[in-house]
Subunit: 343 residues, 2 copies
DNA sequence: CTGAAAGCGCTAACAC
DNA sequence: GTGTTAGCGCTTTCAG
């Protein structure tokens, strides 16, 4: 491994000069610089980012912590975050928690040990209030307002849930079920609540038997629509699903049972993952603004980094001086083929 | 930020002792250790991985460089690599090149600057022979044998291409087209070649007009089947696609034009991404063994790390002492609904 | 414009 | 078992 000292020796200058030259500092003779840069290239020099970080006390890494990167929703979010970060000269490290909050905590700890410049996290469920207290680096949380101390980006899931439910009502469906994901997922609860409210406002009865929770995966959707239709006390004729995966599972069951969609049964998902838009799937769904989510998150991180730099003299900046930002993003209804035309 | 020096001061010991205690070194009094560990916890100590890495000269990071993490194939591969890495105590940083080899080179450079423990890469296209020459950290390359100097994991795309083509022939299709991705992708070329060979071996004529390349995306599949069917000199009745995305585009076109699949037109993809298996899509495809790919890649990286550790005294180890590994993985045919029953 | 030197937080000899 | 000390590769004063 070739270091600036090696270069200095060969160039016959001090290694401080090499450092200055390579970092484009102002006060270096132009000729010396050129000579050093060329030499560095020739010798195959690669700056040791680790060493740089140790002295500058900052890295160019942003950590992204999500439940599952292989879920297209998170994959797409991840890509939008990567792009925004790269544009600002940051690299992102994406970690899976696998919907496991123990693992989530571990990753949170670990990323701080890594001295990342900031953390963007989509928590798996409600976190304990103290979880984020000990984090004193830039942090952006998706979806979960927490006191007033961290930046967060919220999606208006109440609006989303309402939109979805009212759409099904307008389509003329009468017994609308809700198949959610993890019962403890706050987003899930907000949607479920909005669903219930929308029903009531429209003079529909809220039936407990039509509300069930489970996993956010396809199999879970399949299993639960099966249970609902084969063993339930009330037969639904439409279902609002906690995410597109669940909806895909529901569609699969209906498809197998040759139940006509949307004529005899309506299905609406949530997230608008890429594949939902394929004509072979054509799932009506609620779209979350992924790109906006990604770019906003990165922007907030950069703001915090900026703020800390400008206030490096003060102590305990983050919690005491900076007013946390809250961004509320709107989801949008995508009407497609799994719901019939409004009556 | 609390450091081991802070802890040492509070504990009334030297900071070397703190380091030893926290790292579970053998020669520390059990009581001192307990005291220090408890104190560290109380003070909210987090080891500075950057500093650790600087002295130990290794990090626990593995870089994964792929064209596009939002493509389910890479997302799933990425997850399998993450899991295998985590098990071994490594974290993975996944980077997109966006199918851009300039960006790929940049990432390669950058990751080395980051002092990652190893790099796993799926190159976007043929690389220049010298690309990997200057890399002297553990490296695993997917798909592209390169001299004898780096480990690589190859998928037998010749076998895959042959399998796909012969399956279409057995199904009784007569004019089989090939819609590939990037013409310069080696995997693509191998499949294309195998397709041509399989045709010849079965006494089918290879028709240039039935072979076209483009992007690996859905739109590209859609556009090119459209062109083939609307403007082509020979009308195909089946198509072997370079990946599932392209096949999805083809299916979309056929769906819109109400061309019956598999009765009047056969479609086969490549990759077996998750969504291809959904009953609504039900795409016949060639599955690449993602999990095996991921775990093998990580294993090879770990082997190299091990090897380097055990030969730390020697110089220029990687190229001169270690025999590079080559792993050949077999793809598998998944017969589903977009091809008819063999005649 | 350049060199000398301090030190980032930590590990790993080496002494005692 | 514990303290002392020398770096890891680099940036950044501080002198000159």
């Amino acid at each position: 491994m070739v270091t600036i000292k090696d270069i200095a020796k060969r160039a016959g200058v001090s290694y401080a000069t090499v450092s200055r030259a390579l970092n484009n500092k102002a006060d270096v003779n132009e000729n010396t610089r050129k000579m050093i840069v060329k030499l560095a290239e020739k010798m195959g020099y690669r700056p040791n980012v680790i060493a740089q970080s140790l002295v500058t006390k900052r890295t160019k890494h942003i950590a992204l912590i999500v439940p599952d990167v292989s879920n297209p929703f998170f994959a797409e979010l991840s890509r939008s975050i990567s792009e925004a970060s790269n544009k600002a000269g940051y690299i992102v490290t994406a970690c899976n928690t696998g919907w496991d909050s123990k693992r989530e905590n571990f990753m949170l700890e670990h990323m701080q040990s890594q001295q990342v410049a900031g953390i963007i996290i989509k928590p798996t469920a409600f976190y304990k209030p103290e979880t984020f207290d000990s984090i004193n680096i830039p942090l952006v949380v998706f979806w979960h307002p927490y006191k007033n101390e961290t930046d967060f980006i919220e999606i208006d899931h109440s609006a989303g849930g309402k939109m979805a439910t009212e759409h099904l009502i307008e389509c003329g469906y009468k017994n609308i079920a809700y198949i959610g994901g993890d019962a403890l997922s706050p987003a899930n609860q907000l949607r479920s609540l909005a669903y219930q409210q929308a029903l009531q406002e429209n003079n529909f009865q809220v039936k407990h038997d039509l509300i069930i929770y489970g996993g956010f995966d396809l199999q879970s959707g399949y299993d639960r629509i099966k249970k609902l239709l084969e063993q339930g006390s009330v037969r639904p004729d439409a279902v609002f699903c906690g995410n597109d995966y669940i909806a895909l599972g529901v569609l699969q069951y209906l498809y197998e049972k040759k139940i006509r969609v949307p004529e005899d049964f309506g299905v609406i998902g949530y997230d608008d993952i890429y594949f939902s838009g394929l004509p072979m799937i054509n799932l009506t769904t609620i779209a979350q603004p992924r790109d906006e989510m990604g770019s906003s998150a990165v922007k907030l991180i950069l703001d915090q980094i900026d703020f800390m730099k400008n206030n490096a003299d003060k102590d305990n900046i983050k919690n005491n001086y900076r007013k946390p930002a809250r961004i509320l993003l709107k989801p949008a209804l995508k009407v497609r083929g799994t719901t019939r035309k409004p009556a």
